[in-house]
Symmetry: C2
Subunit: 204 residues, 2 copies
């Protein structure tokens, strides 16, 4: 059925990287097209605007992300370890990215969300959706840990909000400082927020 293309995918990859390395406001459609090796005409063939492309890119990444989350939050893994694994994988990702781009980049959703939330409600809602989903995974692990008597957390959703506020806060600090140093305190910080009793975690 006509000509085939992966230009759409290349555009999504390009905007993700550009936003992450720089910012949403400072990346132009021309830049996105250059990086994707796509002409502007094609850009507008697929997407109506930068905002629309960004939403599509987040959606696409979220699909892949879901598989990762399901692996990390496998019921086979003890609940508190799931949360620790989530943090570890997040930190490991920061290390890779620093390697690749020479910069600590933090959480793209949090950074982007805080940049554009007052200006682009469509994007804001999509970001909120993805962030919410992460919190729900965390809340479920918290609930389970509480039920198992590993921690005291009657309000699992509130605990999940607190954990993500802290975690995203540290990632953003790391981005601003351009330093991986602060990330090292995360496991300790997360456990202390969880109020984990010593040895409620299987030693890894």
């Amino acid at each position: 059925m006509g000509r085939t293309s992966d230009a759409k995918e290349r555009l999504m990859a390009a905007i993700s990287e550009l936003i992450w390395i720089g910012s949403y406001g400072s990346t132009t459609i021309d830049q996105i097209c250059d990086k994707a090796g796509v002409k502007k005409g094609s850009f507008y063939y697929f997407f109506g605007s930068k905002s629309e492309l960004a939403v599509a890119a987040i959606e696409a990444e979220f699909c892949a992300r879901r598989a990762e989350l399901d692996a990390i939050f496998s019921p086979m893994v003890p609940p508190l370890e799931r949360i620790i694994r989530l943090c570890d994988s997040g930190c490991a990702r920061q290390v890779e990215l620093k390697e690749k781009f020479g910069q600590v980049l933090g959480c793209p959703l949090f950074t982007l969300g805080s940049e554009i939330c007052t200006q682009d409600n469509g994007l804001r809602e999509k970001i909120q959706e993805v962030l919410d989903c992460h919190q729900r995974y965390i809340a479920s692990a918290v609930r389970e840990a509480h039920a198992a008597g590993l921690i005291e957390a009657p309000d699992a959703a509130a605990k999940a909000r607190m954990l993500t506020a802290y975690f995203e806060g540290v990632l953003t600090q790391a981005r601003i400082l351009n330093s991986l140093e602060v990330l090292k305190e995360i496991p300790e910080g997360v456990l202390s927020i969880l109020g984990a009793k010593r040895q409620s975690l299987v030693p890894s």
Copy 2:
């Protein structure tokens, strides 16, 4: 000594508000000039660029902020209460701003820092300086509280980092969600991070 003017101050006020309401990348020099009631020629008479103006604006606000901090962190106030007061004043500010602008705006430095840190090192450094200063105030209170046996926090700087990561994280969540709701959990969250023993705080 020639003609007098407060255009400089008006420009600084204008960029602050525009960045806060929107973002750094999306505010143009023309917009800043309009809001300040200043012609572009005058803008360039005072400042070499948007970045330079932003640095000046942060610097100026920081001067005023120092007085507030000194009041909040008065040695007359018990150390843990200083931290609680800092949080309360921060939250109260969010309520005012929501009133005024119809939006929750979060912390301008954190939002701006995470937006521009990879692109403008001068701005980044200035933001880092101000954020660091806040952390030092907090660390001093933590140190004192630890010395007084109110909390267990041998590494005051680390505790201060953790508190700010959490606090800024919640403020950013509030901005993204455009909701004051999440802020209500802050006092509780901060106290739990501090590991405050019950009644180590004088009841207000």
